[in-house]
Symmetry: C2
Subunit: 210 residues, 2 copies
DNA sequence: TCCATTGTGGCCCATACGGTCCAGAACTTG
DNA sequence: CAAGTTCTGGACCGTATGGGCCACAATGGA
C-alpha cells in the first residue's frame, strides 16, 4: 500500500548501475554460446562483461542462474523475431522457408558452425539440468505453434496443397531445422548443407510458393 | 627384425592386465554419455571403471584421449550394426525405417532422453575440439552412404518410387533422425515423438513398403 | 551536509580439478 | 628362485574453479 512505498523511499536512493545490463547479457550469451556452459569459467564471464565479481553476482546471482537467464532471453528474442516475421511477411509460407533455410544464409558457414544456443545447451545439459530441458520443450512447442499459424495462413493464401496438415508439417519443419542445426555444427561444407536444406524444404512444401 | 623380437623378449613377460578393457570402456562411455564431457570428472571415471589412476592413465592416456577413444568406438560400433542390418534385413527399406524410428522403440522414453553420444558430444564440443567435429562428419557421411545403399536396394526391390533419389533421401533421413534426437533429448512426451517420427518417415518414403 | 542505500571491484577461501609419480605387487621367463 | 617388466592404486601437486566477503564509491533525499 501507500505507506509501504513511503517506507521504501524513506531513506536515500541507491547508487545507479554503471553498466548496460543488456550489453552485458549479450556478451555473456555469446561466451556461453561459443564455449558451452561447463567450459565457460566465471573468469571468462567477468572478462567479457568487464564487471567485477560483486557486480555480476549481485545483479544476476551465480553462474547457473546467469546461464538460465541468458538462455531464456535468447529464446524469447528468437520467438519474438519469428512472430514478427509472421506479421510482416508477404506470405505465410515465407516464414517457414526462412525458418528452414535460416542457417544457410551465411555463405562462410560461421553461423552454421555456431549452431543454436538452445540446441547446444539442450544437448549438453538436458540430462543433468531439468530446467534446460523444460525450457527447450517450451520453446520448441511455441515455435511449432507459430509455424502452424504460418502454414494455416499459407493454406488460406492458396500456397499450400489442401491435403497438407499445417500442424504436422510445422512439426516436421522443426525436426528438419533441428537436424540441419546438428549437421551444421559438425562444420560440414556449407554448400552441401544448403542443398540438404533446400531438399528438406521441397519435401515439406510440395507446392512451392516460388 | 628377428633379433629385435629376441631382444624384446630377452627378459620376463609383463604382468597381465587385471581388468577387462572392453568392460571398462563401456562403463566410461556410459558415464560420458549420461553427463557430457566437461561435467564428467576423472574421479567419476575411476569410480565407474573401478580402476586406480595409474591404471587408467597408463592404459588410455588423459581424459581427452580417453573420451576420443570412447567416441570412436561408439561410432564404429553403430556403423557396424547399421551395415550388418543392411546385410541381414529382409528389405532394404526396413533399414531406413528402423533408422528413423530407432529412438521410439523404448516406450519409457529413456532412450530418447539419453540421445546419441555423438550428437551430444558434437553439440557440446564441436566449437572447441575439432577432432570431435571431424569425427561427426566422418560418421554422418558413412551413415548416409549406408542408407543410400539401403535405398538403392529398396529401389531394386520395387519398394521405392523410381522418382526418388536414394542419396538425397538418405541425407534427408539423416537430417530427420538428428532432429528427432534433438527433440527426444528435451524429454518431450514419447508418444508425440513417435508420431513425429512416423510422420517424417511417411514423408521420406511416400511409397510405403508393407 | 549528512545519511542510508546500493553498486563496485578485488581480495580471499575451500575445494575439486586433471595429471604425475612412486613404491610395491604380480607375473613370466631364464 | 632370481630377474626383469609391467600393472596397480593411492599419495601428492599445482592450479583454477565457483563463490563469499568487505571496504569503498557514488548517489539522491532529508
Amino acid at each position: 500500500m501507500a505507506h509501504t512505498v513511503q517506507n521504501l523511499y524513506r531513506a536515500g536512493m541507491p547508487r545507479p548501475r554503471e553498466f548496460d545490463e543488456n550489453r552485458v547479457l549479450l556478451a555473456i550469451r555469446d561466451e556461453f554460446w561459443d564455449k558451452g556452459y561447463a567450459a565457460t569459467s566465471m573468469d571468462d564471464l567477468l572478462r567479457v562483461s568487464g564487471l567485477g565479481k560483486g557486480s555480476l553476482y549481485g545483479a544476476f546471482g551465480d553462474k547457473r542462474s546467469l546461464f538460465l537467464r541468458v538462455l531464456r532471453d535468447y529464446d524469447d528474442a528468437n520467438l519474438l523475431v519469428l512472430r514478427e516475421r509472421l506479421v510482416s511477411a508477404a506470405r505465410g509460407i515465407d516464414v517457414v522457408r526462412e525458418f528452414v533455410l535460416g542457417l544457410t544464409g551465411d555463405p562462410t558457414g560461421a553461423v552454421a558452425r555456431r549452431g543454436c544456443l538452445l540446441a547446444n545447451s539442450n544437448a549438453e545439459l538436458a540430462a543433468s539440468t531439468p530446467d534446460v530441458a523444460a525450457e527447450a520443450r517450451r520453446s520448441y512447442d511455441a515455435i511449432a505453434t507459430v509455424l502452424t499459424a504460418a502454414l494455416e495462413r499459407a493454406r488460406s493464401e492458396g500456397a499450400l496443397d489442401p491435403g497438407i496438415d499445417p500442424s504436422e508439417t510445422a512439426r516436421a519443419a522443426l525436426v528438419a531445422q533441428l537436424g540441419l542445426i546438428a549437421l551444421g555444427r559438425t562444420g560440414m561444407d556449407i554448400g552441401a548443407l544448403t542443398v540438404m536444406a533446400q531438399s528438406a524444404l521441397a519435401r515439406l512444401l510440395p507446392t512451392p510458393a516460388q
